[in-house]
Amino acid sequence: MSRRGRLALLGPALLGLGALLGWGVAGLPAFGHYRGPYGFVLDRIVVPLRHTTNVVMGTTFDVRGVDTMGEEFILYAAVLGVTLLLRSGERGRPGRQAGERLGTDGLRLLGVTMVGGGVLVGLWLAAFGYVTPGGGFQGGALVAGTILLLYLVGGRSAYAPFLAEAALDPLESLGAGGYVVIGLAALASGLPFLTNLLGLGTPGSLVSGGSIAALNWASALAVTVALLTLFAEFLETYVVPLARADEA
């Protein structure tokens, strides 16, 4: 199509889209004026009914737990797609591993320290997700991200255990499938899918929320391993081992 033809198509499309967007924005409630009622209802019922002091997690893993299951499988499907695309391509050559470490010892020390601290913060975010802000997704992504830092400071040999598909794939299935199994457990005992079965515990403690804790850990595992699988595919397919600074 010619340049003029494309512009002739773009103009009306932009105008139409702009008009719709302007119309939509004009109809929004004023800034800071939430109309509800969904949020107001949740604010009032989640803590008394589910004992999770982080209402967001009570909502995502219980009130709309089925939606969250769908979201988890979106990530699963995305990683599956990337894996299928990249595995057909050329693999990184394991021969080129010389000089893949960072040059400065201080930088490596800082990196290694950050790996330990980052994993700890990630686990804390996941564990206390339903008590304070955080949750399985945030914690899982942080754990996976800090493990990838190990590749940058320690090189491929230090990161090798996290490249093992034989370990990653079953763990990913355990995380993604675990969510569904918890839902089916309710179904098996004659209740609707994903009904909160376990005892609700004390609000504000780790022993609260019933099934929410289990669902939270299942999604933390699923997110961590999904990202690690993604990183493994990228590292194996795309990354040339890091060269020393004086080599570049």
Partner: protein, 103 residues
């Protein structure tokens, strides 16, 4: 104007940073710099979420825009540049490097 009047100064600053950051990401042409600028832009969004009292999305945004996304981008850029360097060394590269990022 009614919207501006309801904003607390801190919220206005956070919105301003986001409005400033978004075009900067788009206008940065070099992919490596763009990945870094995008990370900084992500942090400005995190600030906005915190200021608007939404800690959960702020944490999600922090780990996605600060860790996961840039790392994937950097991995891809490292590969593309490493390939280009290897080709140059082998003397098969064209006189002008391909800037579109395709191999």
């Amino acid at each position: 104007m009614t919207v501006l009047a309801t904003l607390v100064p801190l919220q206005a600053v956070a919105f301003g940073l986001v409005a400033l950051g978004a075009p900067l990401v788009v206008l940065t042409r070099d992919p490596l710099r763009q990945a870094l600028v995008n990370g900084v832009y992500g942090v400005s969004l995190v600030c906005l979420f915190v200021v608007l009292e939404a800690p959960d999305p702020a944490l999600s945004m922090l780990v996605v825009s600060g860790i996961a996304y840039p790392l994937v981008l950097l991995a891809a850029i490292a590969r593309v540049r490493g390939e280009a360097r290897r080709r140059r060394r082998l003397g098969r590269a064209r006189s002008r490097p391909d800037r579109s990022g395709r191999r």
